[in-house]
Amino acid sequence: MDNFVPERIVYFNWIAAGNLTIDFAFLIDQLSAIMLLVVTGVGFLIHIYSIGYMHHETDHPRFFSYLNLFIFFMLLLVMGSNYIVMFAGWEGVGLCSYLLIGFWFKNTEYNNAAKKAFIMNRIGDLGFLLGVFLIFMTFGSVSFKEVFEGAKQFSSNDPTITAICILLFIGAIGKSAQLPLYTWLPDAMAGPTPVSALIHAATMVTAGIYMVVRSNVLFALSPYASEIIAIVGLATAFFAATIGLKQNDIKKVLAYSTVSQLGYMFVALGVGAYDTALFHVITHAFFKALLFLGAGSVIHAMSGEQDIRRMGALKGKLPITHFTFLIGTLAIAGIPPLAGFFSKDEILAVAHGHSLPIFTLLSITSVLTAVYMFRLYWLVFYGNFRGTEHQRTHLHESPYSMTIPLMVLAVLSTFGGFIGMPEIFHAPHLLKEFLQPIIWKSATHHPSHSFEYTMIAVSIVALMIIIYATYHTYVKRGQLPEEDKDLPAGIPTLLTNKYYVDEIYNTLITRPLDYMSGFFSTYIEKGFIDKIVNGTGPALQGLSGVLRFAQTGNIGGYVFSMVVGIIAILLLTLIVY
């Protein structure tokens, strides 16, 4: 690994205008290599899984061509050697996300979800684009190499750099579903489950994190922007985790969990631990893809049912799905030595080194993560079967094309964390060493050994308590989430309805815009512009109705006016010259 030499390949000059030259060039360095492995590795498994999952669909060619187009754009995104190629990939994955969320386009609700995802991404993309413009204005180039070398001349907290960082981060907010633009991601679950696993959990939504890690030179120069990132990430992590506690759709729980985990990664970015954030991207790609694919397998077995209140006791019927889902749950909850433990603990450790309030809230969030994940796990796989008789007879383990990817991902979720061992285990932190060359200034925080041991002990004990408590509640006492109509008032209603964020956005943004476009449509378009256009014909008709009487049919009259005209023109010419 030590002899890994970054390679920059220029294919052709893409855009040349004035002093702006943009090469279509790829950059393969440590960071893109890791992202390439994650994208193609997880992408490959999900493609195989899709063969099984989509076998009853008639529209295979469309599905797989969209999926592969997505992989193409994702690779473009991570391999681009300047912001413009990256932006092309960035937009492309957004397009594919839109196409795949609306894959079942005959359902209006799914189409609305697709539109929502596209529009919300577009808001973020505007920020990203403005950031790139500002980069070009400041550094005269958009190539990573030149920009970062130029940036190193700037002093810390330079206002221009801070502005660039904040604009780029707005792009990341849209793409990586952070507050306040996160609402598209839960709705994006309308797409087929492999799509949710690939695009909305493992790869596309981590593009924002990749972009920040790639631009770590800029972000390291702007502690202000970094602080904003940390706060937004923290708020998102906590906020989404609380919503996840009360969701009853298996994919929605995982979606809010994804939003929450992305928040974690942004906290790591905000405190300056770029390699740690990338570490969590990798492990999260493994276990969240595993969980989504497991959920897909459950949905497949349940004939399309997604409500966990209608599931239960699936452990016996779906042994492989159950076991791999358990591994995914343990990994995301952070049980040592599974993957999630190492990356999450590292984030907590760097957060602790940064500030205590962030650490505290993040720890609470990680407790909430364990709670909602085990709630999901117990409700789906234990207790009594609560589905219909038809679903019971139909229950079956998924085909090998679906279970083998699950098993591979389970193995990765189990051992994936060993690439980043904490110091106390006396093993090298492989990922940190590998990423050394591309990280300019990383937050170096080495927590004391006693702190590390305490954290491991506390997290194991806390998780044991949570696992037992959720087991007690949902399996032993057999308590089920309330039906929507008999929810107790107060916090449960608030959480089940996702804090009414969608409704607030509807009232504050969508409805006024609707009214405005309604006004423009009725009064400006139909009442004004259309009237001008349609009025042209009658106006000309009326005018010609008057003028036609000039055509008398009398030849002498014509000739007379012609001669008068000629004389008039001649006189005019005489006067003018």
Binding site: F549, Q551, T552, G553, G556, V563
Partner: protein, 106 residues
């Protein structure tokens, strides 16, 4: 200056042209017989032809006289078509009075 213009100065040609042209215009404007109107148009054309040859000689350039031949050819063609139309009109209306030819109107 050994041309005809040393005998008859250019101003005379100009004057004659203007007179011929004005007679033509007046004829077109005030005569009612279509054939006379036609002849007046020819008069106007020839007034212009005269002017063209005169100035052509004055400037010693052949271009003007070439133009005259061109106008003559076009005028001949125009007369052929025009007279044919007049014959047709006469067959229909039994008159060549242009005051009667006022059917094409609003």
């Amino acid at each position: 200056m050994n041309s005809i213009l040393s005998v008859v100065p250019i101003e005379y040609y100009l004057g004659l042209s203007v007179i011929l042209f004005t007679i033509g215009v007046m004829g077109v404007l005030f005569r009612r017989n279509a054939i006379i109107v036609f002849m007046c148009i020819e008069l106007m054309l020839n007034a212009v032809n005269l002017l063209l040859t005169a100035f052509s000689t004055l400037h010693g350039e052949a271009g003007g006289q070439v133009m005259v031949f061109f106008i003559m050819a076009v005028a001949a063609a125009e007369v052929a078509v025009g007279l044919a139309i007049l014959v047709m009109i006469y067959n229909h209306l039994r008159t060549v009075d242009i005051k009667e030819m006022n059917k094409l109107k609003w």
